[in-house]
């Protein structure tokens, strides 16, 4: 039983990590975890298959009611910012799963990263359930339960940890291999194996070095310009060095007449590095992709409207906010860490927060609530 569980867990993790880019919808609705009674807490999550599996693994030994909301098979954060996990999906699962007959309270714990998509005000008004924003990572849930649903700053913060970076690298490697190998393989058979090695090398090194890149990006962040910035160029050069290591290794191991092969290899390695750099920021949860228009907007505070409720402090995944308890106003000392997820704007009960870019264009809270960060929504 135990061994079969681990085999299943391992296989699912491998397949779904390789295919991380694609949604894996799980069945929505009610599930019992452990032996919950009518006083047990109610948790809600998305219907991305791997999320549910990991949540259950991280919360082994705990008892709670689990509601799986329809997020179209997408993970919590992406679904919430892309309007797939929204008020409707939460209201729907609360009403149609029969949870109201199973517990004697009306409190529901949502992952904090669902905050850009689900408005606690609307849920309270339409179904009378109070939302409690849980930790970012499922692994913090046992501690969150023990501390009587209090979150530490660590539990609120999204980081790009080494294990996540490796997962991300594997996902990109799989995709790049899927695109490149069918072209390269039949043309240069033995080289194809080396090329796969090169893909792995570049992606792994690039994502493992992310903390170094992060320091470079951090310096750049004030400018927020386009793709062609000094920081991006430096990162690009570092990645080129990684690619060069791969080329040299290839030459040493696979000695051959390399005048032409070498040229071919340099070109393909260069293209690979271009590919890596294109979405390097975008594949991290701590920076926005350079192709994202949202990254050009900053969060602004309307201090007159701010009543200091501190809801933004509770939902910010980068701990940007600190509450000034004397003045009862919010401050943003860590503004440069903001990833423009929009959670604070969506949740603020007094509409005190909004997006504004350098030109002075404003995106109002109601627009963010309606379209989230969904660029297809053509918000104007």
């Amino acid at each position: 039983m135990r061994i079969s569980y681990y085999i299943y867990y391992g296989l699912v993790t491998i397949v779904e990590t390789l295919m991380r880019m694609f949604p894996f919808p799980a069945k929505t609705g009610y599930q019992r975890v452990g032996k919950p009674d009518e006083n047990s807490p109610v948790l809600l999550t998305c219907n991305f298959h791997l999320t549910i599996l990991r949540l259950k693994k991280a919360t082994k030994g705990l008892s709670y009611h689990l509601l799986v909301a329809n997020s179209k098979g997408i993970n919590v954060w992406c679904a919430a910012t892309g309007d797939s996990l929204n008020n409707h999906s939460v209201i729907s699962v609360i009403k149609t799963s029969g949870i109201e007959d199973k517990v004697n309270h009306k409190k529901i714990i949502l992952p904090q990263l669902a905050a850009p998509g689900v408005e606690s005000k609307v849920i309270l008004k339409s179904v009378g359930w109070k939302i409690l924003w849980g930790p970012v990572d499922a692994k913090d849930i046992p501690e969150f339960f023990e501390s009587n649903f209090e979150k530490t700053d660590d539990m609120k913060q999204v980081e790009f940890r080494i294990i996540q970076r490796i997962e991300m690298a594997i996902m990109w490697i799989f995709l790049a291999a899927m695109v490149i190998m069918p072209i390269w393989g039949p043309l240069y058979k033995l080289e194809a194996a080396f090329l796969l090695g090169q893909i792995c090398l570049i992606y792994f090194l690039a994502l493992i070095s992310f903390p170094i890149f992060e320091k470079i990006f951090q310096k750049e962040v004030e400018k927020k310009k386009a793709f062609f910035s000094l920081g991006n160029l430096v990162v690009f050069l570092i990645n080129l060095i990684y690619a060069a290591i791969g080329v040299v290794l290839y030459v040493i191991i696979y000695q051959k007449d390399y005048s032409r092969i070498l040229l071919r290899w340099c070109i393909v390695s260069f293209l690979l590095v271009l590919l890596v750099n294109m979405e390097l920021k975008g594949s991290s949860p701590t920076y926005k992709s350079d192709s994202h228009a949202d990254k050009l907007y900053d969060i602004e505070i309307d201090l007159e409207k701010c009543k200091g409720t501190g809801i933004c402090v509770d939902v910010c995944p980068r701990n940007c906010y600190v509450l000034d308890t004397e003045k009862k106003k919010i401050t943003m000392p860590r503004k440069k860490y903001c990833v423009q997820c929009g959670a604070c704007i969506v949740q603020c009960p007094f509409d005190a927060l909004y997006f504004m870019n350098r030109k002075g264009d404003i995106i109002k809270p109601e627009t963010v609530r309606k379209f989230k960060l969904n660029l297809m929504g053509k918000r104007n």
Binding site: P23, H88, K95, G377
Partner: protein, 214 residues
């Protein structure tokens, strides 16, 4: 059809091509059941393909959908058709239709919406439909279904594969087809008055009533 929903402005044209025009004919047939001044609810109205047909039959229509972008287009059309007092669109999911009063609609209709719902949602919606439908009211349903014949299912599957792959690549979602909908309708206490499906048995239109008059 998720591929079309992600680009609402192409939705109508796209869906007509994909369903080879059968959707238009099916909707036209279903709409025959609507009389002047009927109160109509369109569940999952989208851009209003069914809603505006009903309005042209001089019914009073409420359209609900959870996709704000599709509703935006539907609302723009209100002005085109100049039917402002007769139609309204609300951003509302099926779980929220319990706010309507008992027996408040003469006609409830739903086109290509039930196949997007979860099983719990279908049960909930059918129960609500029975409650808010007036005594002699009709529930008109048009949707994609899974055929009961294995051969037809395989044929459908083969025909759908290219479409599913393209849809998945572009929108990373798939659309499902309804399973055992007839059984679930009768379980919820509604009665199927008529059922019409195409040759491949993958698309069904049904007229459902609350109670048998006989």
């Amino acid at each position: 059809m998720k591929i079309l929903e992600s680009a609402p402005y192409r939705y109508d044209k796209g869906i007509k091509i994909l369903t080879l025009g059968k959707i238009d004919k099916a909707y036209d047939r279903l709409i025959e059941n609507i009389k002047k001044d009927d109160k109509v609810l369109d569940i999952g109205c989208g851009t209003g393909m069914l809603s505006f047909r009903a309005v042209l039959k001089e019914a009073i229509v409420t359209g609900i959908d959870i996709n704000p972008e599709m509703l935006e287009i539907a609302k723009k059309r209100i002005d085109e058709f100049e039917v402002k007092d007769k139609i309204e669109f609300l951003e509302m999911g099926v779980a929220e239709i319990d706010r309507f009063e008992n027996d408040s609609f003469d006609i409830i209709m739903s086109g290509l919406c039930f196949s997007e719902l979860s099983e719990d949602e279908i049960t909930f919606t059918l129960n609500q439909v029975r409650r808010i439908l007036s005594k002699d009211g009709k529930f008109l349903l048009a949707d994609e279904i899974k055929s009961r014949s294995i051969i037809k299912r395989i044929m459908n599957w083969l025909l759908r594969i290219p479409l599913v792959i393209i849809t998945y690549i572009l929108t990373q979602t798939t659309s499902r087809a309804l399973k055992n909908i007839e059984k679930r309708i009768s379980e919820s206490g509604l009665i199927i008055q008529s059922r019409k499906s195409n040759f491949l048995d993958n698309f069904v239109e049904m007229i459902i009533i609350k109670e048998d008059k006989k």
